[in-house]
């Protein structure tokens, strides 16, 4: 029996006894690495750590976190949600809808999912709690909104997937566009219906909005919406116009947020120091998981993990439909424990040849695989989205509430998957229409 087969169970045990995820991954990797590399285990693990520490794409993470931390202190979150309350207050689930919309907008600005979630989370949690939304709904909304970074271009995951599967990045991004929009529509529809069935308790301080004059309302809206729109325009615009790469756009966002802060008169050295402190702490937490995941993947592969899966597929002898279901299931299961980088790194090279041989449309399959990766990002017990949320959540928000909160959104994502599976044209039509230049 292969060592690789024991790595996942061991990992589960460690994680469930409360050892931090990153350190659990490292313990298992070191054990498996010792068997595969003997005395050279530390060199090998160091190499994986080095790969993670030198990955340029990950540079976007600290900067998007910094952007979020500064925005949180700029007072823009309260202002923005006040505006949302003014205009969407009567709409059922208004703030939740606004959070999803912000998630979609920031997803279009950033390619890294965790950073988007942390940023909208920092803005939305205080505001939604003040308006007495249930913790589970807040958690689910933020996790789901944050996860959109996977499906909405630019998506680092899609770029990496396409590169590994040897398919066109442009076609894949175009293929994901309609399913991504469909997902947003489903989210918003659900939140409105949910808000009608089970509205949050009324709050007493909303009354001042009722007494506001239209003139005041418009003024608040203007002074809140204009700067944040300018910020989003700076990030998205610099990205779409090809002025900045996704990583550089993150820097533009951080500086833009700082300017906003100065504009609102909230800037101070203490505030900057606090933002930096949070940035370092959250980035260290996220990147240590990436580094540990890279170690895990390396030792898993070295112990025959990839071969194990390859042999299993060949032995099973699936038809096309069976093979698609089987592959997506593996992606989902690995997604329980691996971060997306490791998941894509392991799965794509394993599956791509089978998909090609079977004559399955690679864009269609790629789109579905990416939906599943986004779903596995939400699935408890080990959901990256919940880890990120926990790092910024107030103490009264429990793990159980978070797990309950993401369930409806997982179902909505699976619904999207089912629709794309039944109507492949959703993924394949747009790429066939797109003109590259």
């Amino acid at each position: 029996m292969s060592v690789a087969a024991f790595m996942f169970p061991l990992l589960f045990v460690l994680v469930l006894t409360g050892i931090p995820i990153a350190f659990s991954l490292i313990v298992v990797s070191a054990g498996a690495g010792l068997l595969a590399f003997g005395p050279h285990v530390f060199g090998q693990l160091y190499g994986s750590f080095y790969s993670a520490a030198t990955n340029f794409i990950l540079s976007a993470i600290p900067m998007f976190v910094l952007m979020g931390a500064i925005l949180e202190r700029s007072g823009i979150a309260e202002r923005l949600f006040r505006v949302m309350q003014i205009w969407l207050g009567r709409l059922p689930g208004g703030l939740a809808v606004a959070t999803i919309a912000m998630g979609a907008v920031f997803a279009a600005a950033a390619g890294v999912v965790g950073a988007v979630e942390v940023m909208i989370g920092m803005m939305a949690i205080p505001a939604m709690q003040r308006y007495r939304y249930k913790n589970s709904l807040i958690a689910g909304t933020i996790c789901a909104g944050g996860s959109l970074g996977t499906m909405i271009p630019p998506s680092v995951i899609a770029v990496m997937y396409a590169a590994l599967a040897q398919i066109s990045v442009g076609e894949l991004l175009a293929g994901m566009m309609l399913p991504g929009l469909l997902m947003i529509v489903l989210f918003i529809a659900y939140l409105i219906i949910q808000g009608m069935i089970d509205p949050p308790e009324p709050v007493d301080f909303v009354d001042d909005i009722a007494t506001m004059s239209l003139r005041e309302k418009l003024w608040v809206t203007l002074t809140s919406m204009l700067p944040i729109c300018a910020l989003i325009f700076a990030v998205l615009g610099s990205l779409l116009a090809g002025i900045a790469s996704p990583t550089e756009a993150a820097a533009v966002g951080a500086v833009g947020a700082l300017l906003l802060c100065i504009l609102y008169g909230r800037f101070s050295l203490t505030m900057l120091r606090e933002s930096l402190k949070i940035t370092v702490r959250i980035s260290a937490m996220i990147l240590l998981i990436v580094a540990a995941g890279t170690m895990f993947m390396g030792t898993f592969a070295a112990n025959g993990g990839s071969r194990l899966i390859r042999d299993a597929v060949e032995a099973a002898g699936f038809g096309n439909a069976g093979m698609i279901v089987f592959f997506l299931l593996i992606v989902l299961l690995l997604g329980f424990v691996l971060d997306w980088t490791a998941n894509v790194l392991i799965c794509v090279p394993l599956f791509a040849p089978f998909i090609r041989q079977a004559g399955i449309d690679p864009i269609w399959f790629g789109t579905m695989a990416i939906i599943v990766i986004q779903t596995s990002y939400l699935t408890p017990p080990m959901a990256s989205s919940i880890f990120y949320l926990k790092s910024i959540a107030p103490p009264d928000m429990t793990y159980g509430q978070m797990c309950r909160g993401v369930v409806p959104f997982i179902l909505l994502q699976l619904a999207t998957l089912a629709i794309v599976a039944l109507f492949p044209a959703l993924a394949t039509w747009l790429p066939s229409q797109i003109v590259g230049f």
Partner: protein, 326 residues
Amino acid sequence: WQVPTSVPEGSPFYVNFLERFADNVDLLTSGRVEIEPFGAGVLVPALQVYDGVRDGIIKAGHSTPSYLVNQDPINAIFAGFPGGMGPEAYITWIYEDGGKEALYDLRASEGFKSLIVGIGSSEIMAHSNVPIKTAADLKGLKYRTSGPWAEVMREYFGAVPTVVPPGEIYTLLQRKGVDLIEWGPPSANLPEGFHEAAKYIIVPGVHQPTFLWEVVLKQETWDAVDDDLKPLIEKAAEMTTMEGLIHFYSADVKAMETYRSGKNEIITLDPTFVTELSEAGVDWITKKAAAEKDAGKPAMDDLLTKYKAFEATWSAESKYLIRNQD
């Protein structure tokens, strides 16, 4: 042997060089030596395959001398440099006229046993948002490239070499964040989709007329291999290089045909401009070799002299070859 490489699993270099080598070794040694290929970054960092072998983490690794040029410029001669020999002449020099021995000696001095596993065809000089026809067209353009060509472009043509990580090349090219990019030979660029991002395709690949990949092992590891297996593994490597190059030719012309039948405009540079570009490249490497010699390391200069001598003979006497070019 678990053999990692510097490119992701599924890339043409992985399939055409490393997987082919694994298959050939399996065939020739009747399964006595098993090579298990690994994609980039799984066992060791993508660019540190040589280090991984040196540190004993892996028994063997597959990579290209390109990554060693910054450390020791003599590697540029083996990696293929701007204005250097094309694949036909180069593979002949490598296998028949001293190239292979020179590379193997260099690696031996570093404690490695090298096996050439893969020689490539010429690359596409650029996928470009703007047409390039003369040297003046290059001035001030943002060009994603690296290595010696970046220096040649900056110093001799006033272009602006730009560093872009692999995953972001397509996006920046499509959004005109860079004006032009170079990546690999036609068949390797096709799956990357660059032809969908930019209209113009500039050939020939003066910047990278050919390239070389090798499998390296520690000398001790090689010495421990059964004597009857060594020649079989050597043969498998040689066979892989030959088959790999021919496969590239075949896939490349089909890729070019695909480009031509699509929306792209293929610009074949004027011979005088090609000469101008080549001479700049050769001037660059000649100066580099001279600088090395001044620094008390004459090896590069000696090797370059031999390389140029072979190239001169080839250029002068290869006109009898039928090339079937329009």
